[in-house]
């Protein structure tokens, strides 16, 4: 394996829909601690919509699939995570222009654009206790790897460490920021959903 195939991207999205259905209550509970108890519901609704619409765009190239995914998320999630994940996929799509498969360098470029989009929208900084605290280390891990086979597990490890790192942070962006110091000690919901997406990608491409 030296590339991620279009079909794998489609499978990844379908599997994400299953993962977010299964993790709905878990993510919502995380959001209950320091948010408004809806992140799991939001992600589940968003990816249900993606799965529902997939048949209408699953034949397109990776650019098209990612773009349609972004639009579906943008118009179904709502909340803070909706425009952020929507932007993530729409920017990723632009960086995947014309692609039918992704080499490691493509993956890095796609991720780079996607994460930059999220940061441009949400203006998060490192340590703000957001999904970006997962995406930055994930991007670094991808950049540091030599092969896709090495990159994907390293990205998962980075994502899991990123999620863990949010526990001790004080939130400075989003709803949790209103809790001030009381936000410390809780795992960020959006970081967790991001990690699940990374993990699902790795499992889709390399197996569990």
């Amino acid at each position: 394996m030296t590339t991620i195939k279009q079909e794998q991207i489609v499978t990844w999205l379908k599997t994400c829909a299953e993962v977010f259905a299964a993790q709905r209550d878990f993510l919502t509970d995380l959001d209950k601690e320091i948010g408004d108890a809806d992140h799991g519901i939001n992600m589940n609704r968003g990816f249900e919509k993606v799965a529902e619409k997939l048949p209408t765009f699953e034949d397109q190239n990776i650019e098209g699939v990612l773009k349609a995914t972004g639009m579906a998320l943008m118009s179904s999630i709502g909340g803070a995570s909706g425009p952020l994940y929507g932007t993530f996929f729409i920017r990723a799509s632009a960086a995947a222009k014309g692609k039918e498969e992704l080499e490691l360098a493509d993956l890095v470029a796609v991720l780079d654009a996607a994460v930059a989009g999220v940061v441009a929208r949400g203006k998060a900084e490192p340590g703000d206790k957001t999904m970006c605290d997962v995406w930055w280390p994930v991007l670094e891990a991808a950049k540091a790897a030599d092969t896709l086979e090495a990159a994907l597990p390293a990205m998962v490890t980075a994502a899991e460490a990123g999620v863990q790192s949010t526990v001790d942070m004080q939130a400075r962006k989003g709803r949790a920021s209103y809790l001030g110091e009381r936000s410390i000690g809780h795992q960020d919901a959006g970081a967790t959903s991001s990690m699940l997406m990374v993990k699902t990608l790795k499992e889709t491409v390399l197996g569990a």
Partner: protein, 354 residues
């Protein structure tokens, strides 16, 4: 959890359907979801919106002298950009569209996307982000003060100005100036239950409250001991009257350039002698009688400190589902503001003079 609902997935749609059946002057678009009225005459369209669960805000405030339309999201989840975009296109009479946004990350991100979409469709568009919740102390280490109860009063006042002929820039300036003169503070005596979550968002002992809550069932800035109504109201008044400077970056959509201008703006001071429009707002699970008990103390506190209550509004206007608790909103009012306040309004949940 036991609620007066059917399937959790249908809650918002069914409740809006009920609203439109009860008030046939409101039209209801299901996909994407928004509620609107036919605008009589060539007026600016005033659109608000946000997560559901704050009823009667916002759809209950659509009507002559108040909102043109509202875009309801899922419960406690901001609407998506396509809702405001399609809604704005539908209600624009050519005089443009003013979007009122409550300052929550989700609302701001989704509404600002809609602003861009409308702009690229050549619709004159402006937005004002309301951030009245003084429970939030700083804008640097948080997402900034939340938009809460003042939204209701600003919707009424700007709606009246538009009814009286204000154009898009005048309406925008008014909304922004009102926002800088508005402060709110909320407390919860008990949590609410989001239907989809099925359980209360937190639990409080009999002598505890959440002090400084928003309107999404989230915990407040602090868990405090609760003794009685008067003590609590006095604590809230202290927070509301505190003049510690608060500044934040205010974003104004530049219709020439197609981008946001950013400017650091401070809120207004409150000083003895000021007149207020005051709202004592129930969060959904507190009986109106108790709100009047709270108003009694509020009235006395403000008068003792040399402020004047020119108008008051007491009831459930900006709620958090069935949360037990309430908020107080103060808007500094001059003669012009009071004139706008007294102007007729005819919305399902706010009505006088018509």
């Amino acid at each position: 959890m036991k609620k007066l609902i059917n399937r959790v997935e249908d809650v918002v749609a069914e409740q809006l359907e009920g609203l439109a059946l009860a008030h046939p002057e409101l039209k209801f678009c299901e996909e994407p979801r928004y509620v609107y009225r036919e605008v009589c005459g060539d007026k600016v369209a005033l659109i608000s919106g946000g997560g559901s669960g704050h009823e009667p805000m916002h759809a209950g405030f659509i009507g002559e002298g108040m909102l043109t339309a509202a875009c309801p999201g899922q419960v406690f989840t901001s609407p998506t950009p396509d809702q405001m975009y399609e809604c704005g296109k539908a209600v624009n009479t050519g005089k443009g569209v003013l979007l009122l946004i409550k300052n929550y990350t989700g609302d701001v991100l989704n509404f600002e996307s809609a602003v861009e979409l409308l702009h690229f469709d050549d619709i004159p568009v402006a937005s004002v982000t309301i951030d009245d919740d003084v429970a939030v102390k700083d804008s640097l280490y948080t997402a900034g003060r939340r938009g809460v109860g003042a939204t209701v009063l600003i919707e009424k006042l700007v709606g009246a100005a538009i009814e009286a002929g204000a154009d898009l820039d005048e309406a925008t300036d008014l909304a922004r100036s009102l926002n800088n003169r508005s402060r709110s503070f909320g407390v919860a005596l008990g949590a609410c239950t989001v239907p989809a979550a099925g359980k209360p968002s937190f639990t409080l002992a009999d002598n505890e409250i959440e002090f400084g809550v928003g309107i999404h069932g989230e915990p407040g800035i602090e868990r405090r001991e609760y003794t009685d109504c008067d003590t609590l109201v006095a604590q809230m008044v202290d927070e509301l009257l505190d003049n510690t400077p608060y500044t934040r970056v205010v974003r104004t959509w530049n219709r020439e350039m197609g981008m946001y201008d950013e400017e650091t703006v401070a809120i207004d001071e409150f000083n003895a002698g000021d007149e207020f429009i005051v709202m004592v707002n129930g969060l959904g699970g507190t009986p109106e009688s108790e709100l009047y008990g709270a108003y009694r103390k509020l009235h006395k506190c403000l008068e003792d400190k040399g402020f004047k209550i020119a108008r008051n509004l007491i009831g459930n206007y900006c709620t958090a589902l069935d949360m037990e608790g309430f908020s107080i909103t103060l808007v500094k009012a001059d003669a012009k503001t009071l004139e706008l306040w007294d102007a007729p309004v005819k919305a399902p949940s706010l009505r006088w003079g018509r």
